[in-house]
């Protein structure tokens, strides 16, 4: 089945989310749609799936114009979608989730789940999935949950499958398996629209690539196009994908964690007796699949966690048990995982956010009052230095884009005397241009002789920036390897398979 979009335009007020978009997906083709956050990919797909209505333009399935005004229309036209955030009920079984919304009843109104069970087995057999129809969804790994979504689409006879950022939540191994599945689906004649911002995956699996920037199609290219070219098309200017890492001599250990254990409120250890150190002038990346204790470990380093055992030595001084204030002012800069929740006060101005940590220190305070003039003047300087794009430093920080918000956080955290920078998922949700900026800043700190601990679930980021890589799995550091490790080895570690070196 082929799907064609002609002149799709969608505006929200004066903002044009989609501008005359033309796109054609052939039968049995994997068509990648590449674009930054906010480029209009999701809007476009929501129009195709009937969640939004286009202002103008038409949709053609097998050369015939069809009218889609709600998801059920899309389903009956053979269009299925796997959302980035799964639409599954965690406490239901696989079969129960699949019949949801299509419940058939048998005798005395009893739910007919057997039909669904056999359908799941059939589809699983066809594609070599190992999915138990009676498994409770929440007990399944994320990769399998995604397969449940795909099975659902296939059972309801989707001929065009939309996958919205499907690899964001997967381990490298799971990603590889998904790509394999996509190829199998393609071989059986299913068309796939693959939405992503990850260049490597696109080049690996796509037959055709459409690039969207600011609501417009800016390129239709083949997968042979280089990653650099793809990135440039996405951003609209040349991008430095692999920041240059100057080789230089690594200094003394600056931060040492010994037998560090972090417990949650119920007393369960979420970080288990980890040991590591970071040297001056070095980036130690902590890799791992989301939810293996990295967030808690990062927070524990500045005493944001309440139940911590072990020792955190910064330049030989014990920090564990001290206040957050003491940790920050002892020389740790902290970029939290969520800039909106933990990094910024949304209703405060840019200038006010830039002094969140230093508001009671000279020169910002005089006696008990704030020196408004100094605060504004320093903010002007920071805005220039860190290229924070805004109308005025008095604007509420909530009005900024994600990249500019992150720049405010970074500018603030680097305005204290820093010995170690702890960055937790510093590029999550950012556009390519901002990612480039954050990476440069991290390396600049390293080159200036500071220790950097980078927590990241993005393998590319870890490989590009790290001097050494610690891999976390279920609260433990499985191994610390140097940056020459291959993606495959790293992927295995992230999946919990300890390397030979570690087990020896």
């Amino acid at each position: 089945m082929s799907l064609e979009l002609r002149g799709i335009t969608k505006t929200f007020g004066s903002f044009i989310a989609n501008d005359e978009i033309n796109l054609r997906v052939e039968t049995g083709q994997i068509h990648a749609i590449l674009g930054e956050n906010g480029a209009g990919k999701s809007t476009l797909m929501n129009i195709v799936y009937g969640l939004l209505k286009a202002d103008s333009g038409e949709l053609l399935v097998d050369e015939k114009i069809i009218n889609i005004s709600e998801p059920s229309d899309a389903l009956s036209a053979g269009i299925g979608m796997v959302h980035q955030h799964f639409m599954l009920i965690p406490v239901f079984t696989v079969a129960e989730n699949i019949v949801l919304g299509h419940e058939k009843t048998g005798k005395f109104g009893a739910l007919d789940i057997e039909t669904a069970r056999s359908a799941i087995r059939e589809v699983s057999k066809d594609f070599g999935f190992e999915v138990d129809p009676d498994a409770i969804v929440e007990t399944l790994p994320v990769g399998i949950q995604q397969k449940v979504e795909i099975i659902r689409a296939l059972i309801y006879e989707a001929k065009v499958l939309i996958l919205d950022e499907p690899t964001a939540v997967l381990t490298p191994q799971e990603t590889d398996e998904l790509l394999k599945t996509m190829r199998e689906l393609k071989a059986k004649g299913t068309s796939i629209i693959f939405i992503t911002h990850k260049l490597r995956e696109v080049r690996e699996v796509a037959d055709q690539i459409t690039i969207i920037r600011r609501g417009k199609v800016v390129g239709a290219v083949s997968p042979q196009t280089s990653e650099g070219e793809l990135a440039s098309l996405m951003v609209g200017r040349t991008v430095d994908l692999a920041p240059e890492k100057i080789k230089h001599k690594v200094g003394e250990p600056i931060l040492v964690a010994k037998d560090l254990t972090v417990r949650d409120a119920l007393g369960n250890a979420v970080v288990k007796k980890v040991n590591f150190h970071v040297n001056e002038g070095e980036v130690l990346a902590v890799a791992g699949v989301q939810g293996n204790g990295q967030s808690e470990l990062a927070r524990a380093l500045i005493n944001l966690e309440d139940h911590v055992e072990g020792s955190i030595l910064l330049g030989g001084n014990e920090l564990r048990g001290k206040s957050i204030y003491a940790s920050l002012h002892a020389g740790i800069a902290f970029i939290p995982e969520s800039r909106e929740l933990d990094g910024l006060v949304g209703s405060f101005s840019i200038a006010e956010n830039l002094i969140l940590d230093l508001h009671d220190q000279a020169p910002y305070t005089k006696g008990i009052t704030l020196s408004a003039g100094v605060v504004l003047a320093e903010a002007e300087k920071k805005v220039k230095e860190f290229d924070i794009r805004s109308q005025s430093v008095s604007d509420a920080v909530s009005t900024l884009s994600g990249g500019n918000k992150q720049k405010v956080v970074i500018a603030r955290e680097l305005s204290r005397p820093v010995k170690v920078l702890v960055a937790s998922q510093p590029t999550r949700g950012l556009d390519v241009g901002s990612i480039e900026f954050v990476h440069e800043r991290i390396l600049a700190e390293r080159d200036a002789g500071r220790g950097v601990i980078l927590f990241s679930t993005e393998l590319d980021e870890v490989m590009a920036l790290a001097d050494r890589i610690a891999v976390m799995y279920r609260g433990e550091i499985l191994d610390i390897v140097d940056s020459k490790v291959t993606r495959e080895e790293l992927g295995l570690l992230m999946a919990g398979v300890a390397s030979k070196k570690a087990s020896a």
Binding site: L304, L328, P336, L341, G343, L344, E352, H359, T365, I368
Partner: protein, 391 residues
């Protein structure tokens, strides 16, 4: 710049203004429809409308006469006495401004202070004791009495912040419970030999000495006293504290996003305790002013509903110091005028409570008011931040 700030001001009072207008219109209908004379004319529509209009109009005229200016008093006394109602409005509004500020400041730190009532009581107890027990020079005595009240109330309020910081107990539950304790504590206090007025058996303390009283502003015939200046100064202080000081910055940061404030090293326990201590002092000052300015003697009913109306006042004033002052004046007028309305037209005093309740209802349901007046969504920063049970 001027125009900008004017339009900002317009934006800020739009919703409270419309809520107020809507509440008043609705109350007018209630007054008219609850009147048997009006209802008896339901047969002829024209008569009915006329009669309904007259009833509501008379009630509102009485409300005005009781709260701002009464021409009859200028005839019977002198022109000046015509402002007796306005003086009453201000006398009622004075403690209400202070308790309102207490609730408003707590809002800014993300706390919901229901405890102004209890804090008010402790302020009154402290001021009363220093007022009647000691003999001090003129100005010093008033200041000492007020400070004593504030100190006591500050400890009472600060305890809430400390408990929340150390145990995670929710301030709403704490303050409600502590209001009960304060309410019974004053009953007990008034029965102790220290407080019981010689020769009396009912719960009333001795009058405070002349030297501890706030001076009257407009002669002996009007009750208006210098407390209003204290209240206005307190409003100015709260504004200064929030916008100009380091500590106010901490309060606002914790109120707007406690997690980010904590991550940046601001001590949340300190902010909670300090906020509640200052809130306590403000409400306590309200109690002190009530004793030293208008009541002169501590009695069991000293707090009236000043602590509870304060919540409404702070909400209506959008937790802004200036807004709180205006809202308190409005409530003072409603209370003062309500009495006259009852005696002149027979419309019960309780109708004032209905109006108050409706104002709060409309303020709390801004979407509804916007829907009625087809308003666009206001800037979200104009809203209040009070947190749910997990806050």
């Amino acid at each position: 710049m001027m125009r900008n700030s004017l339009s900002k001001f317009g934006q800020a009072i739009k919703l409270p203004g419309l809520s107020f207008g809507l509440a008043f219109t609705l109350t007018g209908f209630i007054i008219a429809f609850s009147d048997s004379k009006v209802l008896s004319k339901i047969g002829s529509p024209l008569e009915f409308i006329k009669s309904a209009g007259a009833t509501a109009g008379n009630a509102y005229l009485a409300l005005f006469q009781g709260s701002i200016f009464d021409i009859n008093l200028t005839k019977s006394h002198n022109f000046f006495q015509g402002f007796y109602p306005l003086s009453e409005t201000i006398v009622i509004a004075t403690p209400l401004i202070l308790t309102g500020l207490s609730v408003a400041l707590a809002f800014k730190s993300g706390l919901f202070n229901i405890g102004a009532q209890g804090q008010f009581i402790f302020g009154a107890i402290g001021a009363s004791y220093v007022g009647f027990h000691f003999h001090l020079p003129l100005v010093i005595h008033v200041i000492a009495a007020a400070l004593a009240g504030m100190a006591l109330a500050s400890i009472w309020g600060g305890a809430v912040g400390l408990l929340k910081a150390k145990t995670g107990a929710h301030e709403v539950i704490l303050t409600i419970m502590m209001n009960y304790i304060a309410g019974y504590f004053i009953l007990w206090t008034l029965k102790t030999s220290q407080f019981l007025r010689p020769g009396r058996i009912d719960p009333i303390a001795p009058e405070v000495n002349q030297s501890a009283r706030l001076p009257l502003l407009a002669g002996a015939n009007l009750r208006i006293h210098a407390g209003i200046f204290i209240a206005l100064a307190a409003a100015l202080f709260v504004w200064w504290l929030l916008t100009k000081t380091t500590i106010g910055y901490k309060f606002r940061a914790v109120g707007a996003n406690g997690q980010a404030a904590k991550t940046a090293g601001i001590s949340v326990p300190f902010v909670l305790t300090a906020t509640m201590a200052i809130c306590g002092a403000l409400a306590g000052l309200g109690g002190a002013v009530q004793v030293l300015g208008s009541e002169h003697a501590l009695n069991a009913d000293i707090a009236g509903s000043f602590g509870f109306d304060a919540i409404t006042v702070a909400l209506l004033g959008r937790a802004q110091p200036l807004g709180t002052v205006f809202a308190a004046l409005l409530f003072g007028a409603l209370h003062a005028g309500g009495r006259t309305m009852q005696s002149n037209t027979g419309v019960p005093l309780d109708i004032v409570l209905v109006t108050q309740a409706l104002i709060v209802l409309f303020i709390a349901a801004p979407t509804f008011v916007r829907f009625i007046f087809r308003l666009k969504k206001l800037n979200s920063s104009a809203g209040l931040t009070s947190k749910g049970w997990n806050g």
